[in-house]
């Protein structure tokens, strides 16, 4: 690894640590709304530490998932959110919540399994409907993704309408996307380990991902088994995105922005780019969490999904305008 690359990773790592410390220290006075930096009492520390860990898992996972999808579909605008994967996973979670509540039954894995199934089914639909002449048409894919996303959104609204009033509030809060302040440690550990494994797997496939960025014929001619790497990327990206949905609900734009943020620093090798994207993804989400601690709209802190949507939307527009000649 070159010294410049290593320096960049160390720099981003330091930024992440600083952002994480800010998250742990930032304190808003409940009476006058003033901001101070201090550690909370021991019994409240966990309420800052758990969302921080969740932000690490969700941000890094969504970022790497987006990068994987951008390689898989050879499209710089691909992301779990744009392709409807997040809303598909959301629909899966909502369906599970609806079934569990309405029929008073429990499933092994519950909402988590719903998220994974929803994510894989949605991405499969987008992938199949975007095929043209044996390949993927980037513009069709983005349009299909948006349509599938809207359809999943409609499904979520139908379920929201069908559930009893008491559950509607939980549905609405979930849909805004928020980092959990209370979460079982075993769940955080399992999802964290799966996310780490997914990131390491994609980093391990880095040289293959580099070659997969060539056209299909060129990639095949240098020795890449394209169907095989695409299958693996497809499943791994879906699982990483689904974990994000399980922990934080639908978080927009991190999957799109994090890979592009990493590419500002790193050119080429996807092995290094994957690790950098994971750090940038986590950094984005921790920073968004820091920002939401500072903003008071008079009705409590904003859900983090709103912060990522506002800032991510602006960056997405810039990316779209910069790339309009290429897609």
């Amino acid at each position: 690894m070159r010294i410049r690359t290593l320096s960049i990773i160390v720099f981003l790592g330091i930024c992440l640590i600083v952002a994480a410390l800010v998250r742990l220290l930032i304190t808003r006075d409940v009476d006058d709304g003033s901001i101070t930096f201090s550690l909370p009492e021991d019994r409240f520390f966990i309420y800052r530490f758990v969302p921080l860990i969740a932000a690490f898992i969700v941000g890094s996972g969504l970022g790497v998932s987006g990068m994987g999808l951008q390689v898989l579909l050879r499209n710089p605008l691909a992301s779990p959110w744009i392709l409807g994967l997040s809303s598909g996973a959301g629909l899966g979670v909502m369906t599970m919540m609806f079934v569990e509540h309405t029929y008073n039954v429990g499933f092994l894995g519950g909402q988590s399994i719903g998220a994974v199934i929803g994510a894989i089914v949605t991405l499969s639909l987008v992938y199949l409907l975007s095929r043209r002449r044996g390949g993927i048409d980037p513009m069709t894919m983005v349009l299909v993704g948006v349509v599938i996303s809207v359809l999943c959104g409609a499904g979520i609204m139908i379920l929201q309408h069908a559930v009893p009033m008491g559950l509607r509030g939980a549905f609405t809060t979930w849909l805004m996307g928020s980092l959990p302040e209370i979460e079982a440690w075993w769940k955080l550990t399992v999802l964290g380990v799966i996310t780490l494994l997914g990131i390491l797997l994609i980093a391990w496939w880095g040289p293959t991902l580099d070659a997969a960025c060539l056209s299909d014929d060129e990639a095949t001619s240098v020795g890449v088994d394209l169907p095989n790497i695409r299958r693996k990327l497809f499943v791994t990206s879906s699982v990483l995105a689904a974990i994000g949905v399980i922990l934080a609900g639908p978080i927009a734009f991190v999957g799109l922005i994090a890979p592009h943020g990493a590419r500002l620093f790193i050119h080429g090798s996807h092995r290094v780019l994957t690790l950098t994207t994971a750090i940038v993804g986590a950094l984005l989400l921790v920073c968004a969490d820091d920002i939401r601690q500072l903003i008071d709209v008079g009705s409590g802190r904003l859900p983090i999904g709103i912060v990522t949507s506002v800032f991510g939307g602006i960056v997405f527009l810039v990316l779209l305008l910069r790339n309009r000649g290429r897609i």
């Binding site: 499209n75 060539l214 240098v222």
Partner: protein
């Protein structure tokens, strides 16, 4: 190495792209594939490179069907140079050339040598999306040079379409050198003068069929090519006494 094509045809849905192609070639030869637009040149080259499976017939390299080889194994025998190389991502030219070694293991020496041969060693750290069409075409050829194993097969789809005269001459020299090291070199070309300059044999396609094949000088004549392309052609002799096909 011996390439054998027996009764090969390709259909895309109801459209016949190629039919009844028979041919064979041995190492050490440069073969030019010519023909009007949509005559099936790229389809034939993709078949030969194992990137497309024929609807019927078979293409064999030393008795092994090229479309049934695993990509990893085929990469050590067959190098492919596309008409337009595509790279999605922020890669340097060097990284794109290094990808030619994906299946064969990294080799800085081979990559530097390939970059030097196409005159890109000094520009190797330039970003791909900032490179000119000519630089990209040379980089794609350098990737094939870094990948090739002497005595293998190099398939090139219009490798000279964006090259200036100096680099065109250099491409001809490099292809001859590959052939002299035992490679079978097969290139689709639109530049008939260049084809006459470098190719030992020529295959001319029209509407998906081979209409002419044989020694270059015997095949590429005003009357034969004029009929295929539907234009009037004539010989012109330059100051050095060389004959060239021209449109009068």
């Amino acid at each position: 190495m011996r390439l054998h094509i027996s009764d090969v045809g390709v259909r895309f849905n109801k459209i016949t792209a190629l039919r009844g192609v028979h041919a064979s070639a041995d190492g050490g030869k440069i073969i030019a594939v010519l023909g009007p637009n949509a005559s099936g040149k790229t389809t034939l080259l993709r078949l030969i490179a194992g990137l497309l499976s024929p609807t019927y017939g078979k293409i064999e390299l030393d008795g092994i069907r090229v479309d049934r080889m695993k990509p990893y194994d085929r990469a050590s025998k067959v190098s492919w140079v596309p008409r337009v190389a595509e790279v999605a991502g922020a890669f340097t030219i060097r990284r794109v050339v290094e990808l030619g070694r994906y299946a064969l293991g990294p080799s800085t020496v081979r990559v530097d040598e390939a970059l030097a041969r196409v005159d890109l060693l000094d520009r190797s750290e330039s970003l791909w999306h900032e490179a000119s069409a000519g630089m990209r075409q040379r980089a794609a050829f350098a990737r094939a040079l870094a990948q090739r194993t002497p005595g293998g097969l190099i398939v090139l789809d219009e490798p000279s379409s964006a090259l200036d005269l100096q680099h065109l001459q250099s491409l001809g020299d490099l292809l001859r050198r590959c052939a002299s090291e035992g490679d079978i070199v097969i290139a689709a070309l639109h530049d008939i003068s260049f084809a006459m300059e470098i190719a030992d044999e020529a295959v001319v396609l029209k509407e998906g069929q081979v209409v002419l094949a044989g020694q270059t000088r015997a095949v590429l004549t005003p009357s034969s090519l004029g009929g295929v392309f539907g234009v009037d052609l004539a010989w012109a002799v330059d100051d050095a006494g060389k004959r060239h096909l021209v449109m009068p």
